[in-house]
Symmetry: C2
Subunit: 218 residues, 2 copies
Amino acid sequence: MSATETTTKPTSERILDAAEGLFATQGIRGTSLKEITEQAEVNIAAVNYHFRSKDALVREVYQRCFQPLNAERLRLLEDAESAAGEGSLALEQVLYALFEPMVRAWQENRNFILLVGRLQSEPDPHLNVFVQGLYGSLIDRFLRAARRAAPDVAEAQLFFWIHFLFGGVVYTLINSQDMERMHPGQNLIDTSDMFLQDLISFGTAGLRSRSQFPVTRS
Amino acid sequence: MSATETTTKPTSERILDAAEGLFATQGIRGTSLKEITEQAEVNIAAVNYHFRSKDALVREVYQRCFQPLNAERLRLLEDAESAAGEGSLALEQVLYALFEPMVRAWQENRNFILLVGRLQSEPDPHLNVFVQGLYGSLIDRFLRAARRAAPDVAEAQLFFWIHFLFGGVVYTLINSQDMERMHPGQNLIDTSDMFLQDLISFGTAGLRSRSQFPVTRS
DNA sequence: GTCTATAACCTGATAGAC
DNA sequence: GTCTATCAGGTTATAGAC
């Protein structure tokens, strides 16, 4: 690097950084290009030069955010599979590979999990289809691993309750600050290792449970 | 009622109905007053006459939506408590009283759960504070009941994991259509009774589990 | 209570100079 | 690649007639 060169990031990256944070805290529709370019300290027209439109910028933000996360998930799963013998992978290890990267990302940058949460509510169907493409074959890959780890649980049950766990994780991470404020005295997820440990115990116990409570209409 | 009177709802109610549906499907910031008044077939100025502003309309929509829900939750809990002897309430019954009204509301009107989901993502802090007020002492009330039902589980754990279950329920109900599409062949929550039954088994098994899986940093 | 008309402002997007 | 200037359209909110 040259000695006189300032380490300022390029314009397109500054736009992506600002957009990521503002989308996370204010929502996508709740954030205007004016706000983004002001925070990034670039000209308003730059966003339409480097990206084609606001929609394209949104997709770039999510791509940059989700691609390394899902790659890490896949890496952890493959590491665990090759470390364990064929078919001897535990359900606990599958859940660990699925959730560890997300909890770690949350620990490093709280904006990340907010960005994930936006997808549950932002109505844009184009974005949802795009993000589903980012997940690609990851869901199938993890479902097959879970199926081998828990052959006694029906595949449809595994599929459903792993998604359920995903929803619970996103919700509790997003609301962790509010929950700590509402119930002070004991930090519940102040360390991500502790939370992961409890999550995996909670999830596997649930997945291995069988319906017992009779529900009757009132 | 008079013979010639049409059974058309009053203007303010038509506005609330239209706003509820549009907020659910398009988001709050993603819905303009113009859209609302067009769907309600009322004049654009009526929303500022009957309600003070868009913010006040949003609060009215959530109040009308959440008040009967939480009243029903409380009723179910108190019914179960008076039916059972003092202190003999099961954790399953607490979870039933908490989630049954929500699942039933989802079954009757899919817009409802979308409206709940908006709160996780819409950035408006004023709205969040307002809705927290709607929940009022309900959380404390249910936490005390759960504590009596499971005295061996730490209160902080109960608080945390019941919120976790709430996040999972909202997520799976919101995404139930997509999940059915992604994993066809077996309906998982086609009947709310079946889902409630599985949910309560899953949740109580998780709540009663203890951490077993050792998590180590990679 | 309901309507028309309009104010004041913000939005994404683009043309064209530099 | 970066800027200024501007466009066409949408937004909430309000004033004032009926």
